[in-house]
């Protein structure tokens, strides 16, 4: 007999999560598409009734996005310009319907190479807060995601929040798909840019859908540091962008196209963020 749990208290939830084969669930926008059945299989732990797990809050150290915060919550939240990329990504997640139900943390736990939330969160230096009955830990997002549909979550662990340090600058996000709405990316790019006295003082770049896990582009970031915005366009090259990526060919595009497209998206995202910075 499989159980269904919908606790209102985190401690209780963590005790349940320790049970064998328990599947955490939130918006269910990835769990249901994975089955043709009318019900979810196995013991299910629904996290959406737990108090304190939803919403975006700021304390002295930074921002906390509760695990069951939805994309619609992100769109509605009052956030600084560095989060504009995350907000833009939120508007590109599936459809309005998916944004209503789907959660930011669920997007990370599903660990799709084309997860819309990952590139902007990488540019924000996000960490993932993980809890279990025996304690809590934090991992940088890049370490949390370990492969296609794989994360560092151990049995009994659930994500409780995404933590973002105080970050400056202007964010931007661009997604390329073969149609306007409800589309899985061919490639997507997030950028966060700090411009001081007309020069790039700080730049974070991340590309999704071009590798098993979305990647920061450290070589390209290094090449942009210190340049003026006018110089930046010419300093974005396929070689530097491709350095961190390993795209595949699939039904959406071939690998070479993905690199070329990612390079162009980086160029345009840097320019877009530069206009706001």
């Amino acid at each position: 007999m499989s159980a269904f749990h919908r606790p209102t208290d985190l401690t209780e939830a963590l005790a349940i999560a320790a049970g064998p084969g328990v599947r955490p669930a939130a918006g269910c926008t990835d769990l249901f598409p994975a089955t043709e059945a009318q019900v979810l299989a196995g013991p299910v732990l629904d996290l959406t009734a737990i108090s304190g797990l939803r919403g975006i809050a700021r304390d002295g150290k930074g921002w906390r996005i509760g695990a069951v915060t939805t994309w619609a919550d992100v769109i509605a939240a009052d956030l600084p310009p560095a989060f504009d990329g995350l907000k833009a990504a939120a508007r590109e997640v599936g459809s309005v319907q998916i944004q209503t139900s789907g959660t930011v943390a669920g997007n990370l736990c599903n660990a799709s190479p084309a997860a819309d939330g990952v590139p902007p969160l990488l540019t924000l230096g996000a960490e993932v807060e993980i809890a279990s009955a025996t304690g809590m830990r934090r991992l940088p997002l890049g370490a949390f995601l370990t492969g296609v549909r794989q994360t560092a979550l151990a049995p009994g662990e659930i994500v409780t929040a995404i933590l973002i340090p105080e970050v400056a600058g202007q964010g931007a996000f661009l997604k390329l798909g073969a149609r306007r709405y409800l589309v899985i990316s061919i490639a997507m790019v997030a950028v966060r840019l700090v411009v001081v006295d007309g020069r790039i003082a700080e730049v974070s770049l991340a590309v999704g859908a071009c590798s098993p896990v979305a990647q920061r582009l450290s070589a390209q970031e290094a090449a942009l540091a210190g340049l003026t915005l006018a110089e930046a366009e010419g300093a974005v090259t396929e070689t530097l962008v491709a350095d961190a990526l390993s795209p595949i060919a699939d039904v959406r595009a071939d690998a070479a196209y993905r690199i070329a497209a990612a390079t162009d998206l980086v160029r345009r995202a840097v320019a877009e963020a530069g206009r706001g910075a």
């Binding site: 299989a41 299910v44 619609a72 309005v96 319907q97 209503t100 073969a178 149609r179 699939d250 039904v251």
Partner: protein
């Protein structure tokens, strides 16, 4: 499989409290539909890809299929059934009706709910806001334009009045069957759930080619509590097909599966037992065969079907004059090739239906385009006389050709017949995509020549069509293409040959245009190359060659009422403007380039040189109602409205006096299949003849003149001419079969068989069209945005401009998908997130120009339109891409990486 104890859940739906006991993780869509009977919420994909199940929870739109019921507890759920009760949402429903925003209606509840969330927040949205709010709901019929129109114009408009007697044809009339589509009351295939029905599931082949043997079926049945049915249980001849001489498809495969997803067995049982069973443990073992997947290699490969050892299904041929010499002697010659992909119909309603016994009669209520063909195929498979099979079509949530072939009708029929119990079945999206027909992939080469003045002198065309594992409509495609591949242009010498080859790929069947859209892509793109060589403007080049009345077609047929010249002429002002605007834009733009393209279509309405009659019956009841027995299925295209409009004017009574019966094979004469753009023309003509015949009876009884006016008041029919008036009390006339007066008429298009060279008269009526596409191509990313399409179509006589525009807009949406994004790959795109169809945000502005060049044969001059609208779109877009960038796309769809590659090849 999970067995979870039902728990009591309290749900507040549409302001009412409900208590259900169910698995708390059950999809809310399933609970709404089955536990609460609120079937207005539709299920199209169970994956959040189509949005048909959109409901509001606490005012926000969600996919009910992705929402566990437990998460709705304590919250406010709103479904389509609630909309009529509130003025603002009732106005939205009216706006949908008034604007023609619902065609088949399967997406309508989801659209309405998403729109409700929007207009409560933003009562007067912009088009962009409406597109974004509705971007999560897919529609395959409308092309979205009229849906966005409705959402942006909710404020109460003038209530459309029913036309007066004699004024029905030509009226911009909302569809007569629309009310149920906007309230959620329309019953589609999955919405009829007879009490105590057995749920049927198919066991399907995971392999494209494999032999199989069953082992312990009895043990499986015992363990699961399910009944098992295999081909051995089929009492009749286990082969069906839409063209009887080619019938080759088993309802259940016997020993060998020939395509991925082919059904090999059925299980049936109570829903709980079906849900609990592990169907992956079904006792079958497979011997995998080497699949034939490449049509180019099919001849000489392992036979897919023993009866066609060379894998050749059929060939088509039309030859007129000496085309080889014509090409050799031409001043300018172009040669090219194009290949197209499998294209999925992607109607939002997966196949679904119910079957039950009424006495000795097997009744089947399922979505379909062809009730009488369904009846005949089911009767043959189940060894029943046709009188013992009754098809009562459900609402059909889109068809586009694929629901011409039977799918689950024989399967649920078998279970109902064998058990005596009602049986229901709904395909999953994956099953629907795997097992039903697709547009034939084509590999085509052609050469076209013209003289120095740009007049076409010759064309040669060769096309190979992948017809997949079974015949379906492969012969029709092979025969239609050579007849149409010239396009609507005078082509004095011509050779077109086609071959349809079997593979272990999906079945190539009917899809809006039967191969003609594929051929038009090659011909129309070559016309641009040829116009360039001849140094003639591309629109002018087409006008020079447009077929004219009396000029022989490539089949040697002389036609009247040829409207292609009028269509091209109607584009000329827009053409000059669009080309100038594109050139001006490109003079200053950077990476973005604009281009303009044009393409034409012609399309013969009805079967190719074969009989395809329709019969209509219309009667006057003793109480003074006009009843039309209308057996033509309306799958959204509008025959429930257009055919009564024609009949009303033929009879001379107002449409408001009409009631509609059918379709139902027990109640309606055969209206033929909804395909080949034939219902307005063929069934419409039968309805006109029936209306005229009934009118003649009235005039004969009253001895009044042919132009007499008919006035109906209750049971009193007054007939008035210039000499006076006579009244008939219908209640006092003798009653036969429920009618005081009744007429039934048939119409079959006059065609002539084609000879060995394809010469003859394949169709009695053709329709024509030409479209102009304006695109913007991002030359760095290779992405194409279609900005605007102007569509000029000759309908002969416009029966209903509102519905005609809907056909054009919907056809353009499918043509845009064919051009830019749609490619079905077995095993890889078996869902609606990997297989992409256009969303609200992908559609251009569309201007429809409806032209009337009367056809001598069509009813009141009318011609068909349904398929025509799709044909020019893809080549017009491809020609615009070429104009913008130089890229010649030879492999469809024009995905961004293919556009870039073609640009590099063109050296730009």
């Amino acid at each position: 499989m999970t067995i979870r104890q039902p728990v009591p859940l309290g749900l507040t739906v549409n302001g009412r409290d409900h208590h259900v006991a169910t698995d708390p993780t059950r999809r809310l869509s399933d609970v709404l539909r089955r536990d609460l009977g609120l079937t207005g919420t539709k299920s199209g994909c169970d994956a959040g890809d189509c949005g048909a199940c959109t409901v509001l929870i606490d005012g926000a739109p969600v996919c009910a299929c992705l929402t566990p019921a437990a998460q709705a507890v304590g919250r406010r759920v709103e479904t389509v059934e609630a909309l009529a009760a509130a003025p603002e949402t009732a106005a939205l429903q009216d706006a949908f009706l008034r604007h023609g925003a619902a065609q088949c209606g399967i997406c309508t509840p989801g659209m309405l709910m998403a729109a409700t969330a929007l207009i409560r927040r933003t009562p007067h949205p912009t088009r962009a806001e409406a597109e974004a709010a509705l971007g999560g709901v897919l529609c395959r019929c409308t092309g979205y334009a009229k849906i966005i129109d409705a959402v942006c114009n909710v404020h109460p408009g003038p209530t459309p009045e029913m036309p007066q007697a004699g004024a029905a044809v030509g009226a911009r009339l909302p569809r007569l069957d629309g009310a149920d589509k906007v309230t959620g009351a329309e019953r589609f295939g999955a919405d009829h759930l007879p009490e105590g029905a057995l749920v049927v599931r198919a066991i399907r082949s995971p392999h494209p080619a494999a032999r199989f043997v069953f082992s312990d079926l009895d043990g499986f049945a015992r363990r699961t509590g399910l009944m098992v049915f295999t081909a051995a249980d089929i009492p009749g001849e286990n082969r069906f097909g839409v063209i009887p001489p080619f019938a080759d498809q088993p309802a259940l495969a016997e020993t060998e599966a020939r395509l991925r997803g082919e059904a090999i067995a059925l299980v049936a049982g109570p829903r709980a037992a079906i849900e609990a069973a592990d169907l992956s443990a079904f006792p079958v073992s497979w011997e995998i065969l080497d699949p034939v997947t490449d049509p180019a290699q099919a001849q000489g490969a392992r036979p897919v079907l023993a009866e066609r050892p060379d894998n050749v299904l059929t060939r088509g041929r039309v030859v007129r004059g000496d085309a080889a010499t014509g090409i050799a002697d031409a001043e300018h010659v172009v040669t090219g090739e194009t290949s197209t992909a499998f294209v999925e119909h992607a109607y939002i309603e997966p196949e679904a239906g119910a079957a039950w016994m009424e006495g000795e009669t097997l009744c089947i209520r399922a979505c379909t385009q062809a009730p009488v063909m369904d009846r005949d195929d089911v009767a043959k498979l189940l060894a029943l006389p046709v009188e013992r099979v009754r098809i009562l079509p459900s609402g059909t949530g889109g068809g586009f050709g694929s629901k011409l072939d039977v799918s689950l009708q024989p399967l649920i029929g078998l279970v109902a017949l064998k058990t005596g119990r009602p049986a229901v079945m709904t395909y999953t999206r994956r099953e629907s995509m795997q097992s039903t027909t697709k547009r034939h992939p084509a590999r085509m080469t052609a050469s076209i020549g013209c003289d120095a003045g740009g007049r076409i002198t010759a064309m040669e065309f060769d096309g190979t069509f992948d017809t997949g594992a079974y015949a379906s409509w492969g012969p029709t495609v092979a025969n239609r293409v050579p007849v149409h591949a010239s396009g609507p242009y005078f082509t004095p010498t011509y050779r077109a040959e086609t071959i349809a080859l079997h593979t272990n790929n999906p079945i190539g069947g009917a899809f809006r245009g039967f191969g003609v859209p594929q051929a038009a892509i090659l011909q129309e793109t070559l016309y641009d190359d040829l116009a360039e060589k001849a140094g003639i403007d591309r629109l002018e080049f087409r006008r020079i060659n447009a077929l004219r009345d009396g000029q022989p077609t490539v089949c040697g047929q002389s036609l009247g009422g040829v409207g292609i010249g009028a269509c091209l002429d109607a584009l000329s002002v827009e053409w000059v403007r669009a080309v100038a605007e594109a050139e001006s834009f490109n003079a200053t733009a950077g990476r973005m380039r604009r281009g303009v393209g044009v393409a034409s279509c012609w399309y013969g309405c009805g079967n190719t040189a074969l009989p395809n009659p329709s019969t209509m019956r219309v009667g006057l009841t003793p109480s003074g109602r006009v009843v039309l027995h209308q057996g033509a299925t309306d799958i959204g295209q509008g025959s429930n409205t257009v055919i009564p409009q024609i009949c009303a004017d033929a009879l001379g009574l107002p449409l408001a006096a009409f009631d509609l019966i059918g379709p139902d094979t027990a109640l309606t004469p055969d209206g033929g299949k909804t395909s080949a753009s034939r219902q307005t023309y063929v069934s419409g003509k039968a309805a006109m003849l029936a209306g005229q015949a009934l009118r003649a009876q009235v005039l004969a009884l009253t001895n009044r003149a042919p132009d007499a006016a008919l006035l109906l008041s209750g049971a009193i029919l007054t007939v008035r001419d210039s000499a006076g008036e006579t009244t008939l009390d219908l209640a006092r006339l003798p009653v036969a079969e429920g009618y005081a007066l009744v007429a039934e008429e048939s119409y079959d298009p006059p065609t002539a068989p084609l000879d060995a060279d394809g010469q003859g008269a394949p169709y009695a009526v053709y329709g024509y069209g030409a479209q102009l596409a304006e695109v913007e191509v991002d030359t760095v990313l290779g992405t194409t945005r279609v900005l605007r399409i102007v569509a000029a179509h000759d309908l002969g006589r416009v029966i209903n401009p509102l519905l005609a525009e809907g056909q054009i807009e919907g056809g353009i949406a499918q043509g845009l998908g064919l051009a830019l994004m749609e490619e079905y790959l077995p095993g890889r795109t078996e869902n609606l997130h990997d297989y992409l169809i256009p969303t609200t945000g992908d559609m251009p502005e569309i201007r429809s120009i409806l032209l009337e060049v009367p056809d001598p044969e069509g009813p009141m001059g009318a011609k068909g339109l349904g398929e025509h609208a799709l044909i020019p779109t893809a080549p017009a877009i491809l020609n615009a891409i070429r104009h913008a960038t130089g890229a010649r796309i030879r492999q469809l769809p024009a995905l961004p990486h293919r556009v870039l590659a073609a640009m590099w090849e063109a050296g730009r």
